[in-house]
């Protein structure tokens, strides 16, 4: 149950808060951070990526520099290796449009970032418990 968590987040404050929030629950998972869409895709599909294990969960912000979140999601679903990788969209957007399109592009879940840190911590617990502990993913590369 040592599945890694990939955080795709360009805002360092949010990234730090997420790391802290997950840290509170001691899931003990490795957390890697990609600060833009291109970096995230490099990690998942780039050279040598086939030797690294896939993360157990991708937390994906939508508004990202270079390649935006929806495009990242589209390419994750397009790529054979990451087709069934769990991706949770974690965003501050309240636009219905973003919600609709995220699911259309194959997101597994859509969570709005709470402003309140206490709620943020609760959200991290729920997400970590479900996706990193309870959820079973197909064998890597399947």
């Amino acid at each position: 149950m040592n599945k890694a968590l990939l955080l795709v987040e360009d805002n360092p404050t949010d990234a730090k808060l997420l790391v802290r929030a997950f840290g509170r629950w001691n899931f003990g998972n490795e957390i890697s951070i990609a600060t833009d869409g291109a970096a995230a895709l490099e990690l998942l599909h780039g050279s040598g990526s086939e030797k690294r294990p896939l993360p157990g969960l991708v937390l994906l912000d939508l508004k990202l520099p270079r390649i935006d979140g929806l495009e990242v999601l589209r390419r994750i679903r397009e790529h054979e290796r990451t087709r069934s990788l769990p991706v949770v969209v974690l965003t501050s957007s309240r636009e219905d449009e973003d919600l609709i399109r995220s699911y259309a592009f194959g997101a597994n879940a859509y969570v709005r970032k709470p402003v309140n840190f206490t709620e943020f911590v609760d959200a991290a617990k729920t997400l970590g418990l479900f996706w990193l502990v309870l959820n079973e993913t197909p064998p890597s590369g399947a």
């Binding site: 805002n11 949010d14 808060l17 501050s92 957007s93 970032k113 402003v115 840190f117």
Partner: protein
């Protein structure tokens, strides 16, 4: 020869006449014969061929003697149906009788002439038949007057019931009878026109043509409009003219077939027509009138300008002329479809319509159609709006709207992110480093944290206010009681220690967009909940009431209330009637509630007393709550 005359110029009576002597047969009889006013004719006794034709005969019947000498009298003058009768009479004359009778003849130009006929056989000294001498007196005028009396007895009453001017004319074209309206219309008194040719009512310049038409009509009398497609005029006694519409109807009477003529002064209608054209010209938009066949009948100057055609190049042209070629084919079908159900509507609703200028350029249009019922059938009026500018504005508006969308997106995303940081790290400090801070430090952290939370709430409220204005309404039947129950559940969960008496009807129906209905009820109940926070026995009620002449929904509380002097400020965004320390809030809630009501075409208002509670009413168009099932 001079006649003695009295002072008024009339011949004196009882005065001995002074004459030079009797007429001398050799010199004067021939001349006298010529001057007799009646038609004097001689025919051969055996076959009735004309041998003598007096100047009087020429005056009465129009033929010169050269034209008729040697021809059969019957052939020349007698209408076919009287030929047999005429032959018998000639025969009786040859047998020595002196037939005298009244008959009908045709003049050279086809007019009917009523005549008083007398005949006598003329023999030579040996008693052999030489001629039949025939005298024919034109009694058309006299007869009309006589027949008028008969017709008048029988028809005057009926004629007076007609609202139109009515004139009865005999087969000879003489006026027999005019009703009061006709006398008024033409300016004549009583029977002064009896026996006169009807042409007296026609302008001089049209009389000859009229006589010819009248003869044509007498050959085939039937009910019809006179001179359809011609401009007809009547002539008044004073010589003035008026435009007229005239209908003719043959009528059998004891005096023979007469023609009833109804005359209507259409001067008013022509004025109306002129007014209509003036109205068309004054219309701000280009207007075209199109007939059933799709031909352009009328256009205004605005149409000329818009399409670049002078009007003489448009009138009579098919309207398809103004449509780009690629759309022309389908247009006649649309036109026929419209003719089946003509009513005021816009053309091709939902479609982008294009029009074609003379120079070949196209432009977007909107066209409204309307039927105009006229005597010549249903015409269609087309009002054309060039929507080039509007489409440009719409494009600009859409761009501005998209920009606004992008702006609210970035407000939502970019402004909330730093707030999350402020809130989050303040919370982490409070959670993990409290032991390293004193009470004042901890209080500062609480301030940072609370302000960040409040700003987040403000941003959310502003976004939802903006959302109400741009969302598409999908009203449906909504139970407001259900929404209120949800709201109270939420409020009680947030404030579990509070005791509030909630009064709700079993159901409270309204037609509203479900999303916005929730927004409305949430905001009004949040408001009531908040302002009853310091009231010992708080009570909040939802229901309907008749107030200000309408059936309105209401949310009533017994909380802090407000001063009616400030009621205009209640619904403005960021307007607050209480200090933040008294009651917290964004100042957006009631503005949001108002916007929901207004977006649905309704309104919202409030009643309140300081420390006496407040009632918020909202009214929505459509059926009242009790009527929604």
């Amino acid at each position: 020869m001079l006649l003695k005359r009295d002072a008024e110029g009339l011949p004196l009576l009882g005065h001995p006449c002074t004459v030079a002597g009797p007429v001398s047969p050799e010199q004067d009889v021939g001349k006298l014969l010529e001057e007799f006013p009646d038609a004097l004719i001689a025919v051969t006794p055996d076959d009735g061929c004309i041998t003598f034709w007096s100047r009087g005969a020429q005056r009465v019947f129009g033929y010169t003697s050269e034209e008729v000498i040697g021809r059969s009298l019957i052939d020349v003058l007698v209408p076919l149906e009287h030929h047999e009768l005429e032959r018998q009479l000639l025969r009786t004359a040859t047998e020595g009788a002196l037939p005298a009778y009244e008959g009908v003849r045709k003049s050279k130009d086809g007019k009917t002439v009523y005549v008083d006929v007398s005949m006598r056989a003329v023999t030579d000294v040996n008693g052999a038949l030489m001629h039949i001498a025939v005298s024919k007196k034109d009694i058309t005028h006299l007869r009309s007057i006589r027949e008028s009396a008969i017709v008048e007895d029988k028809f005057r009453g009926i004629l007076e019931t007609a609202s139109d001017a009515m004139v009865m004319v005999d087969t000879a074209g003489r006026i027999m009878l005019m009703n009061d309206e006709a006398q008024r219309l033409f300016g004549y008194d009583g029977a002064e026109l009896s026996g006169q040719p009807v042409e007296v009512l026609v302008p001089e310049r049209l009389r000859t043509a009229h006589e010819a038409h009248r003869v044509g009509y007498s050959l085939d009398p039937k009910t019809r409009l006179m001179g359809a497609r011609l401009d007809l005029f009547g002539r008044r006694k004073d010589g003035s003219e008026f435009p007229a519409e005239i209908s003719l109807k043959p009528l059998r009477t004891p005096a023979g077939t007469v023609t009833t003529v109804a005359i209507r002064d259409v001067g008013d209608r022509r004025n109306a027509d002129l007014r209509f054209r003036a109205f068309l010209e004054a219309a701000p938009d280009p207007v075209m009138i199109v007939d059933r066949e799709g031909s352009i009948v009328l256009v205004n100057a605005q149409t000329e300008r818009l399409f670049g055609y002078p009007r003489n190049e448009l009138i009579g042209k098919p309207v398809e002329h103004l449509i780009p070629t690629r759309f022309r084919g389908e247009h006649p079908g649309h036109r026929l479809h419209y003719a089946l159900e003509p009513r005021p509507r816009s053309m091709g609703s939902g479609l982008k319509l294009h029009a074609l200028r003379r120079d070949g350029t196209e432009f977007p249009v909107e066209i409204s159609l309307g039927p105009i019922v006229t005597e010549v059938g249903t015409l269609v009026s087309c009002t054309i709006s060039d929507v080039t500018d509007r489409q440009r504005t719409e494009t600009a508006l859409r761009a501005a709207h998209a920009e606004l969308e992008a702006f609210s997106y970035s407000v939502a995303h970019d402004l909330r992110a730093p707030l999350r940081g402020m809130n989050g790290f303040a919370q982490i400090l409070l959670d993990e480093y409290s032991d390293k801070l004193d009470a004042a430090g901890i209080d500062c952290l609480h301030e940072i944290h609370d302000n960040a939370v409040r700003m987040g709430a403000l941003i959310d409220a502003l976004l939802s206010l903006a959302h109400i204005s741009r969302t598409t309404l999908k009203p449906e039947r909504i139970d407001l009681t259900r929404l209120a129950q949800d709201a109270f559940k939420r409020l009680k969960a947030e404030d579990p220690q509070r005791q509030v008496e909630v009064v709700l009807p079993d159901h409270l129906w309204a037609y509203l967009d479900p999303q916005l209905a929730r927004n409305l009820i949430d905001n009004l109940l949040d408001n009531a909940w908040k302002f009853t926070g310091k009231t010992p026995h708080a009570r909040i009620e939802l229901g309907t009431a008749n107030t200000e002449g309408v059936s309105a929904y209401f949310v009533r509380d017994n909380g802090a209330g407000f001063d009616m002097a400030h009621k205009s400020k209640l619904f403005g965004p960021f307007q607050r009637l209480h200090s933040m320390t008294e009651f917290r809030g964004t100042g957006i809630g009631l503005a949001t509630a108002q916007r929901v009501a207004v977006r649905h075409g309704g309104r919202i208002w409030a009643d309140g007393v300081v420390n006496g509670g407040a009632t918020f009413y909202f009214w929505l168009p459509g059926p009242p709550a009790e009527a929604i099932q």
